[in-house]
């Protein structure tokens, strides 16, 4: 007999097997999910959820697909949160401090409460990456925010109204495009292809009899 636990979806009590995640428990209880469900494996940030354990004060944030149910969970989902993404042309930007000042000035209103970090479902140091953004250190901000899945739990809890995932997104794009050197071998190869360097060899390969291609494949040297 599987062990059952009592959970409360939007305040209504259900008995569900204790080894389920919040997401599969919702379905076990009979919910057909359209909102608040996505990849189901912790990458897309669609299933933002908040809960309290009965009798305890602390409010928890989590991804419903990555969190096992517990006895006495009071659960509410946040299927959408209006984070505020500013639009820009990435080609026109320069990777300096003014970018953040003009696009996301509210980050300078951070009061240092650290509620964002406590809320992060990926255990990221969110307040720290906002601090890096304030300083214009986009490389550090990109690294610190890299595992963000944009579930928005940080923004839900922020008294300054910061849309943290969007700040991290901008920092990563600036870092990826402007601050990290381009790969020379990649640019060279793109040019070589444009110049037709491989055209003849490709045509030759495509026109080979099947047996010859099989032989080539089965005896090809594999880089160590």
């Amino acid at each position: 007999m599987e062990q059952m636990v009592n959970v409360y979806f939007y305040g209504k009590k259900y008995q569900v097997p204790g080894d389920l995640t919040i997401m599969t428990a919702l379905e076990y209880a009979g919910y057909t999910l359209v909102r608040g469900v996505g990849c189901r494996h912790g990458f897309c940030g669609a299933c933002t959820t908040i809960y309290r354990i009965k009798g305890k004060n602390e409010l928890h944030t989590c991804l419903a697909c990555q969190t096992q149910v517990q006895e006495g969970m009071y659960i509410a989902r946040i299927p959408y949160f209006p984070t505020d993404k500013r639009t820009y042309n990435i080609e026109d930007l320069k990777a300096n401090q003014e970018v953040m000042m003009s696009l996301y000035p509210e980050i300078y209103a951070c009061i240092g409460c650290n509620a964002c970090t406590k809320a992060c479902t990926q255990s990221l140091n969110v307040m720290q990456y906002i601090a890096y953004a304030q300083r214009g250190d986009f490389k550090a901000c990109a690294e610190e925010s890299f595992d963000c899945v944009s579930c928005g739990c940080c923004s839900v809890r922020c008294p300054a109204g910061i849309s943290h995932p969007m700040v991290g997104m901008l920092a990563r794009r600036l870092n990826g495009k402007y601050l990290t050197p381009e790969a020379e071998h990649l640019n060279t190869r793109v040019e070589e292809i444009k110049e037709g360097k491989f055209d003849e060899a490709m045509k030759d390969m495509m026109n080979k009899p099947l047996d010859e291609i099989k032989e080539l494949y089965n005896t090809r040297e594999i880089e160590k």
């Binding site: 359209v34 890299f146 595992d147 990826g176 790969a183």
Partner: protein, 538 residues
């Protein structure tokens, strides 16, 4: 002693640990072509006749498809009962992109940049797609010892020589530019300090050409594309499925009937070109397998295109990723990226034997895991499942302390959620339903046989033959997504639409009735039926 697993598993781990030092000194032998064929025939689920049914209607009549896909092909349209007035047009665009994943987003960006009026409709949110979940990386032959021709050989051979050559040529020749395009949009790739790409092997690659962004490669690409789509102001109609294509009296694709997933309301989109970028089919649970796919992967685009008269190619070829999580149950089916093997972990059976080379192609390695489990060398898991070990502590020994957190942080996090520290103990895996190798047949330019209808990404067939290599799917969605956007944008100007109709839907329904088929279902499926009352109804 650290013991995050039940007793029988900890006993088996002792054997894994006992052989580790010796295993690390030798690389398991590669199988010969004959040995691979034998393994596939005996153990790959594609060779199980019970999991396939004959298609009774349409362009692929007489061929086989997975039972669950055949059922959808044998089901009728919602629009046979729900009547929609298609003369009332809600959206009128040059390019209609169905699907908001990697292929759809790349397509929309290129179409927009080429001056087209483009719109994305997507069943869930933009980015809710298998692209977001791709972990390991993206292939491109951009190193000195490599070339697009070498990449062609790996991809064509890995796909059992069944791919369409002109598609493999496009895939491999446009790969470096795809990486450059992504990088210039701001995608962060793993690099050395001087900008040189960090590249590794994937199963079946002969050169180290796997580019990655830790083990969030797809997520990093997808979120950047999504950000760009929004920056460009491209309209994205979310929570809206295309449930049927609309054609005109000249037989051209002319738009789609859309269904609001929340309200149930229908609307109509007219378009001069239509791109199907609806992705995969993991949530059809072929062969009863768990899946690594996202919630919306239900082969919708295949149904829409097929009903409109486009043939499928290799619809009977399914990829089971060899390493899906099988313990604990909360993560059953979740992808354990191939990169775990790229950075050094071996596949090890219950007796501590590295029974196969960890970087054989996916179909071969999946078959190997199934063989070990069926022949009594698997590890027993509560609930009647079995699995084999992926010896993750090897990664830290080979690459140094901290390698796991640096290179595969998502995997580390997923297991730590359940108290399993993969730096110290191996993890248990079993194949998971991962990829639809086939799809709607396209020509070298991405067009189907229906004028002005293109397909890009996982919904397309023929690019990977009957087995896809790691890192060629992220590549495929970018290369063929971009291509579809450019081709559609170049095409729409010359298109004059005639009278729109849904005659093909009625004709298909008649064909079903004439064949005596009645599944009591409608298709496309749109979402899997997971709620309790829906399951018991089945």
């Amino acid at each position: 002693m650290y013991a995050p697993y039940p007793e029988n598993m900890m006993e088996s781990i002792k054997k894994v640990e006992a052989t580790r030092e010796a295993r690390m000194k030798t690389e398991p032998r590669r199988l010969t072509a004959e040995e691979k064929d034998d393994l596939l025939e005996k153990f790959h689920p594609d060779y199980n006749p019970d999991s396939f049914a004959e298609i009774k209607v349409g362009p692929n009549k007489g061929q086989k498809a997975p039972v669950e896909l055949a059922e959808m092909l044998h089901s009728t349209s919602r629009l046979m009962t729900d009547k929609v007035d298609i003369s009332k047009i809600d959206y009128d665009v040059d390019v209609l992109v169905i699907g908001g994943g990697g292929a759809g987003s790349s397509c929309a960006i290129e179409a927009h940049n080429a001056g087209a009026n483009v719109m994305i409709v997507t069943k869930l949110r933009i980015g809710d797609a298998n692209t977001m979940m791709a972990e390991g990386g993206i292939q491109a032959a951009d190193k000195e010892n490599d070339s697009p021709v070498q990449h062609y050989l790996d991809a064509f051979g890995g796909g059992h020589f069944k791919a369409k050559p002109e598609l493999v040529k496009r895939l491999t020749s446009e790969a470096p530019e795809a990486i450059q395009w992504l990088n210039r949009l701001g995608v962060e790739f793993d690099k050395e300090d001087d900008g040189r790409m960090v590249t590794t092997h994937g199963g079946g690659t002969s050169r180290k050409r796997m580019h990655a962004a830790k083990d969030y490669s797809g997520a990093e690409i997808m979120r950047t594309l999504r950000d760009e789509v929004i920056n460009l102001g491209i309209p994205v109609i979310e929570f809206t499925s295309a449930v049927e294509l609309i054609k005109d009296d000249k037989g051209q694709a002319a738009g789609a009937v859309l269904l609001n997933m929340e309200t149930g309301d229908y609307s109509v989109a007219r378009a001069k070109t239509v791109v199907i970028a609806t992705g995969g089919a993991g949530r059809m649970h072929y062969n009863g397998f768990p899946t690594s796919n996202h919630y919306g992967a239900t082969a919708d685009g295949l149904i829409l295109a097929y009903r409109a008269g486009a043939p499928l190619l290799y619809q009977d070829s399914i990829q089971y990723h060899p390493t899906g999580a099988v313990y604990p149950s909360q993560i059953l089916g979740a992808l354990v990226t191939e990169k775990v093997r790229s950075v050094g972990a071996q596949l090890v059976n219950a007796n501590g034997e590295a029974y196969i080379h960890p970087l054989e192609t996916r179909d071969v390695n999946a078959s190997g895991v199934i063989r070990e489990c069926r022949e009594g060398r698997g590890v027993d898991i509560p609930g009647g499942l079995k699995g084999v070990w992926l010896d993750t502590p090897m990664i830290e020994i080979l690459g140094g302390e901290g390698t796991i957190e640096k290179r595969i942080p998502a995997m580390f996090r997923m297991y730590m959620n359940y108290g399993i520290d993969m730096r110290k103990v191996p993890i248990l895996i079993y194949p998971t339903l991962h990829y639809q190798n086939g799809g709607v047949e396209i020509n070298g330019d991405g067009f189907t046989n229906i004028p002005n209808l293109l397909v890009a990404g996982e919904a397309a067939g023929g690019i990977h033959g009957t087995n896809r290599l790691m890192g060629n799917s992220l590549l495929d969605v970018i290369v063929f997504g971009r291509n579809a956007g450019k081709k559609a944008a170049a095409k729409y100007g010359e298109v004059t639409l005639g009278n729109m109709n849904l005659d093909h839907v009625a004709a298909y329904d008649k064909e079903l009735k004439d064949a005596g088929l009645d599944t009591h279902e409608v298709s496309p499926k749109l979402l899997p039926k997971y709620a309790r009352h829906e399951r018991t109804a089945e």
